[in-house]
């Protein structure tokens, strides 16, 4: 009898063990990526183009990488540059000679084989004056770009096909960030026959080597793509991706709430409702963006040429207060480099009205002066402009706030006709050089310091990340001492929200890093939730 009881107990235990094991296995199996389904995403604006040679905006660039590959790309989970169409490369002659060894198993979506000629054609095309690409600022270091743009040569002297699967780039001077520049959408590879086949319509008929094949594009409405079954890096998990163009953020989040979108950005107006919701919190991801918003002071206009006046303005604007009062979820800026990116110098936050007034008096303006501040007509810009106007008013600077639409605003700023303006810089790639070079070599603010230019030159040439960070910190400290033409205000962040059934999604700081190959849909959870 006792034996029977023991046997029963053992049997029950075994049954429990087996059940538990099955449950665990089921759980593990459930987390295995599933193939299939349609991913529903959205964008707030239509894409200007899908031709890599014209991808000047972030939206177009982010979309182009779904259809095309470059020689290299950003790692999906870091800002490292990793192989893509090039399986490896050699760097020789002090960063001036790059030899890329290409993958041999790659086809364009129409079945055309990918070879080194496609790489040469893509870069030649970018510097063909008839193409009039806005991306010629990206690779001017390649030999022969000027000659090509001036119609002196047919193609780039510095891009050579060594054999079918080897291509070589020769640079005019060492450029340590060349590989990083190759990640930009202008460096995506196209095929000559396909480009010629579509002619003017190539911009809206992308045929690349990327993980997704183009299906259809109804402008301002939707863009559909399907998985490239033969993708050289393994086919994406989802069968299809449908992007909808939804310009109004509140409509967009309503579509998400109804389960019609799989992932979207939480609009500023809705932050409290979603971020404060316990049920949704686990599906929200907030990420610091690589952006810096600032007030620029143009030294071409008196008295902004006086370093003391620039410092006085810096002391009068408390960026922590501005950030906290207007955008409590953003990070106040003390220098040009965004949070989470190396190269910042931890310059002290300045907020001292008394000192600002003293500096202004020393500069000969004890009663202040009148200043034109240009802002674009977006609601955020106008709000920030108003706050800056009030803060500068405290030290006697009477700010005349000039609002215009983006085209007028930026044309004025670009032509150096705005004495001061509120603007931002968003990273093309995650390196301090991208920020510092853009800000301190700009002709918009009449700032030209030889020492800083030399240091920027060194930053560009070196591949040593530690050295680049050291130089970046030195530049920031130096500009702070000599009277920075910028008052840095804040760095932005964004919160994305996903449906519970979305797995494997990527939150990357670079707009062009995500090719949607890691995303998958848990069909069981979706079926359950949609019930």
């Amino acid at each position: 009898m006792r034996r029977v009881k023991s046997l029963s107990l053992i049997t029950i235990l075994i049954a429990f063990f087996v059940m538990f094991s099955f449950m665990m296995i089921e759980k593990v199996v459930a987390e295995e990526p599933q193939y299939g389904g349609t991913l529903h995403l959205s964008n707030n604006t239509d894409w200007d183009t899908l031709d890599p040679a014209y991808c000047s905006g972030f939206d177009a660039g982010a979309m182009a990488v779904k259809f095309y590959d470059g020689l290299v790309r950003f790692d999906y989970h870091s800002n490292d540059v990793v192989p893509a169409l090039a399986k490896s490369w050699d760097v020789e002659e002090n960063n001036t000679l790059f030899t890329f060894y290409l993958r041999e198993d790659v086809e364009f979506h129409d079945g055309t084989e990918f070879t080194a000629h496609d790489v040469k054609y893509s870069f030649d095309r970018l510097y063909n004056p008839e193409v009039a690409s806005p991306g010629t600022w990206v690779y001017p270091m390649i030999k022969g770009t000027d000659a090509s743009l001036n119609n002196e040569t047919n193609g780039l002297k510095g891009v050579k096909v060594i054999d079918k699967y080897t291509v070589q780039f020769e640079l005019d001077k060492p450029f340590g960030l060349f590989l990083t520049h190759l990640t930009l959408p202008y460096g995506l590879i196209v095929n000559e026959d396909i480009v010629e086949k579509y002619g003017d319509d190539f911009r809206q008929n992308p045929v690349g080597t990327g993980p997704f094949k183009f299906v259809s594009w109804e402008h301002d409405d939707r863009l559909v793509m399907e998985a490239n079954e033969n993708y050289w890096d393994g086919r994406p998990y989802v069968d299809e991706v449908m992007y909808r163009v939804i310009p109004q953020p509140l409509t967009d989040i309503a579509e998400f709430e109804a389960g019609n979108l799989d992932l979207t950005t939480v609009p500023t107006e809705e932050r409290e409702r979603w971020l404060g919701n316990d049920e949704w919190q686990q599906y929200i991801h907030t990420m610091a963006e690589l952006s810096t918003y600032y007030l620029a002071l143009n030294g071409d206009f008196e008295p902004l040429d006086d370093p003391k006046v620039k410092k006085a303005i810096d002391y009068a604007i408390d960026s922590q207060m501005v950030t906290e009062s207007l955008f409590s979820h953003y990070v106040a800026a003390n220098d040009a480099i965004p949070e989470g990116m190396p190269g910042g110098a931890d310059v002290e936050f300045k907020a001292d009205i008394k000192k600002a007034k003293e500096l202004l008096a020393e500069a000969g303006y004890p009663d202040g002066f009148e200043l034109e501040l240009w802002v674009s007509d977006g609601s955020t810009s106008v709000r920030v402009g108003g706050v800056l106007q009030a803060l500068l008013g405290r030290i006697g600077i009477k700010v005349d706030l000039i609002k215009n639409d983006w085209s007028v605003f930026y044309s004025t700023v670009k032509n150096g006709n705005a004495p001061s303006y509120y603007l931002s810089w968003w990273a093309d790639y995650a390196d301090p050089y991208n920020f510092l070079n853009a800000l301190y070599t700009s002709d918009r603010i009449a700032f030209n310091n030889e020492t800083i230019n030399t240091m920027l030159g060194k930053m560009a040439a070196t591949t040593d990340q530690t050295e680049r960070i050291r130089l970046s910190q030195e530049i920031i400290k130096m500009t702070d001492q000599i009277g920075d033409p910028y008052v840095f205000l804040y760095h932005t962040s964004a919160s994305s929200i996903k449906q519970p059934w979305i797995k494997g999604e990527i939150y990357h700081q670079m707009y062009n890093a995500d090719k949607l190959v890691t995303w998958w849909i848990d069909q069981d959870i979706k079926a359950q939730e949609m019930k």
Binding site: T45, D46, D48, T49, D51, Y54, S56, G57, P129, E130, A132, P134, T136, W137, L149, D200, R203, Q204, E218, H219, D220, D221, R222, R244, V245, I246, P247, Q248, L250, T251, A254, E255, E257, A258, N260, N404, D405, W406, S407, V408, Y410, S411, T412, K414, W425, A438
Partner: protein, 310 residues
């Protein structure tokens, strides 16, 4: 009549030429630059100049106008500077979408507006009249943007009766159409209700209405056959003029409901200073406006046999 229509159609040509000329002059007077807008902060002078030359934006304006005109006469409205998409192709896609929206909006708003206006006038100074006119005032004062969001919240999110936005998977989807059409037509319906009421009040005091009543006609017949018919002439004028305005001014509704129409297309082009698109849209928009004026004039004849065109 036929000769009149032909003459009116021929008059469209100088009108359109004038509109195009003015558009070109205005585009050159308005500050802002499509190339700088397109390039963003990477706009360097040499790149700007090269692209401007490639797009022939550095030609004098009269040469650009002449080139545009000769190309347009051949039926080619050019390509967007920004996206490279043919303006004709884009209009072929977007105009039908906006037409669909505007026609539905006009039908809904005319039916509602005329009905409410007539009822208000017939029951003048009763609670029905006061309630109708209060609602009309409310709708006229309601911002389109807010009203659209409220409709989405109530009918799509709460009741689940209609889709939230978009046009659906192709074809004519009434479910997708109804909320944007009501949003677009709401203010016009309210305006029309007030307008119809005032016209109707004037008509029902006329001698011929009194005569009809004194002949012993039933009140319903008096209103429908005699009063409403005479109300329709000014109402049709207003509806005709507003239909063209709804086509051109649907941008807010199209933005709220993610409707890929003409309004969003032209406003985006203006923001980006995409001159080719702006000129094409102004040309087509003017054509629609002039054409609808003509249709309204022709409808008059059907409504009032006394009107004749030589």
């Amino acid at each position: 009549m036929f000769q009149y229509i032909i003459r009116r159609l021929l008059l469209i040509i100088p009108v359109l030429l004038g509109v195009l000329f003015l558009t070109f002059v205005l585009m050159y007077m308005v500050p802002g630059d499509p190339v700088i807008t397109m390039l963003g902060q990477h706009a360097e002078d040499d790149i700007i100049n090269r692209i401007r030359a490639e797009l022939h934006l550095d030609d004098p304006w009269h040469i650009q106008f002449y080139n545009y005109l000769t190309r347009t006469l051949k039926g080619d409205l050019g390509r967007s500077y920004i996206s490279g998409v043919s303006v004709t192709d884009a209009l072929k896609q977007k105009l039908p979408n906006t037409f669909r929206l505007a026609i539905t909006a006009v039908i809904v708003s005319t039916l509602m507006g005329v009905f409410i206006g007539v009822i208000s006038a017939v029951y003048q100074n009763t609670w029905i009249d006061h309630a109708a006119m209060t609602f009309a005032l409310l709708f006229i004062s309601t911002p389109v943007f807010w009203f659209g969001m409220i409709l989405i919240y109530f009918f799509s999110m709460t009741l689940g009766w209609t889709p939230i936005s978009g046009m659906g998977d192709g074809g004519l989807s009434l479910a997708h159409l109804i909320l944007p059409a009501v949003t677009l037509g709401s203010r016009f319906a309210a305006f029309l209700a007030r307008y119809t009421r005032s016209v109707m009040l004037e008509v029902i005091t006329q001698d011929y209405i009194r005569t009809a009543r004194s002949k012993g006609l039933k009140e319903r017949k008096v209103i429908l056959n005699h009063a409403v018919r005479n109300v329709m002439i000014p109402v049709v004028t207003v509806v005709g003029m507003n239909f063209a305005s709804l086509l051109n001014g649907s941008v807010l509704t199209e933005t709220i409901f993610a409707w890929p129409g003409f309004g969003r297309y032209v406003v985006t082009a203006i923001k980006k200073r995409d001159f080719q698109v702006i000129a094409g849209c102004v040309l087509v928009g003017s054509l629609i406006f002039v054409f609808f004026n003509l249709i309204v004039d022709v409808i008059y004849v059907g409504l009032d046999p006394r009107i004749q065109y030589d």
